[in-house]
């Protein structure tokens, strides 16, 4: 079953266009949405939530067409965003009561459990909490109402390293509880790598790659070559970027195999090293290759 589908979604602003967004979020999967600031992650998420209406394209969440099905859909979505705040003058207990009065699915015993695990005090006012505590309070409010889809829009942005690790640890802890469908956006690849099953890269309003996390890590390589005079590196399928300095060339490929290595060697180039890439390096290569293609 697919929790959310986006087909050829387009949204035009005066200085930014989200274009041709296609996304499939299978139920039970944790998808990481990675992109630089201003790439279109939040706009994509707001379109999924029905808060922004697409100019063209089809969006469905749990079978409801968006934005028409906004109200029904949001009953099944828990949303935490970096730019979302709770009411500073009220306590976490007030917020818990408010949410519990709206959602019959609210699980008070689970909420109490999360209070302990997140080390939060229900009677504390939100304005007296640290940023990390406020993020955890927001997470508690959405988790305890048991949404079918959890959308986390850069929840770790602005947190200091300690608070960020605390939030991630808390999140990983509760995500291990049961199967949830989660869309997690961030410009921090490390955060996404820790949590996600699949990854979608987005840049300048376009989805530039989308695959399982393991497939990305397995198929991407950085190959260092020594290219003697007279030899030219061939363009092999999957080749994303090439950087050359003197006789040394560095190629990143999204489809590494023995066959592609042999194709390079057949040109006379000598492979000096084949290196695995981190998700951050894969992301940067994707962005670089995508922007290079856009320039051509």
């Amino acid at each position: 079953m697919t929790a959310a589908i986006m087909r050829d979604v387009r949204k035009v602003y005066p200085h930014f266009t989200l274009d041709g967004i296609n996304l499939d979020l299978p139920a039970g999967q944790i998808m990481g949405l990675i992109g630089p600031n201003g790439a279109g992650k939040s706009t994509t998420i707001r379109i999924l939530m029905g808060l922004v209406h697409q100019d063209a394209g089809e969006v469905q969440v749990f079978g409801h067409a968006m934005p028409a099905g906004e109200v029904k859909t949001k009953a099944d979505i828990g949303y935490v965003s970096e730019d979302m705040r709770l009411y500073g003058g009220q306590t976490l207990k007030w917020h818990m009561g408010f949410i519990a009065s709206i959602f019959p699915s609210w699980d008070q015993s689970y909420a109490d459990d999360l209070l302990r695990r997140f080390d939060l005090t229900a009677d504390q006012k939100i304005k007296g909490m640290s940023h990390g505590q406020r993020v955890k309070a927001s997470l508690l409010l959405v988790l305890a109402r048991m949404p079918r889809l959890l959308i986390l829009d850069e929840p770790t942005t602005g947190l200091d390293p300690v608070a960020r690790q605390e939030v991630l640890a808390a999140l990983m802890d509760v995500l291990a509880d049961e199967e949830r469908t989660i869309l997690f956006s961030s410009h921090n690849t490390q955060d996404v790598e820790q949590l996600s099953d699949s990854i979608t890269f987005i840049d300048r309003g376009k989805v530039i790659a989308s695959d399982d996390k393991e497939s990305f890590l397995d198929s991407w390589r950085r190959i260092r070559f020594e290219v003697p005079n007279g030899a030219n590196l061939p363009t092999v399928p999957g080749q994303e970027t090439v950087q050359t300095s003197g006789h040394i060339s560095v190629v990143t490929t999204s489809n590494f195999s023995d066959a592609s290595a042999k194709a390079y060697e057949a040109s006379g180039a000598r492979i000096m090293a084949v290196e695995h890439m981190t998700l951050e390096e894969i992301f940067l290569s994707n962005v670089s290759a995508s922007r290079g293609r856009a320039l051509q």
Binding site: R46, M49, G50, L51, V52, H53, E70, V71, K72, K74, A75, I77, G78, Y79, S81, D83, M84, R85, L86, Y87, G88, G89, F98, S101, I102, S138, V142
Partner: protein, 225 residues
Amino acid sequence: MNSFMIKKLIAKDWYFNRYIMLAYFVGGLIALGVMFSGGTTTFTIGSILLVTAIISLGCHLVMGTVVQERTNQTLAFIMSLPVSVRDYTAAKLFANITVFLVPWVLLSAFLLSIMSTSQIGSGGAVPIFTLMLFWMVITYLIMLGTALVSESEGWTIVAMAVCNTAFTLVFMGLNAIEGIGGELLKQPEVIWTGASLSVLAVEVAAIALILSLTFYFQSRKTDFL
């Protein structure tokens, strides 16, 4: 519309603004006490205090419940709940208007009742005071509508400045109309002339128009956060 969620949002805003409503109501009562403590000077000072209390309540509510909800980024929290922009607008208008109208109705009733009594003998001023009280509702709705539709603190402040500046001009304009101001103000009895009833009808129509326009512009929005 999602009446369940609209009721929840109205209850939330009432809960948040209960002390504000009470404080301005008490302030208005004090102003009424000053107005009718005897003498023309205290009547004038009390009138200014009453007008200030009602206008300030309006400004406070608009800034506190609409503008700050956006600047404090709590709007995203509310819009993550199962509500549409129409639900949010309906709840915001209903909650704000009722929180404003409860002290406004009570203070207006006290003011106009006292003025109408034979002992005070200022019944002739009741129509123009009524029209100015309705004008305050209009300016409040203009400020509220501007805040909701423009989503801008700057435009809301502009609307507040224009509305508050217009208060004196509107009063002077009404006072210059025969059948509303001038010699009529010196009459001890309440006299509703055709002119004052016509202006009252225009004010009621303006209230309906502002509410309709606010809903219309809100429903046309395609981006809400």
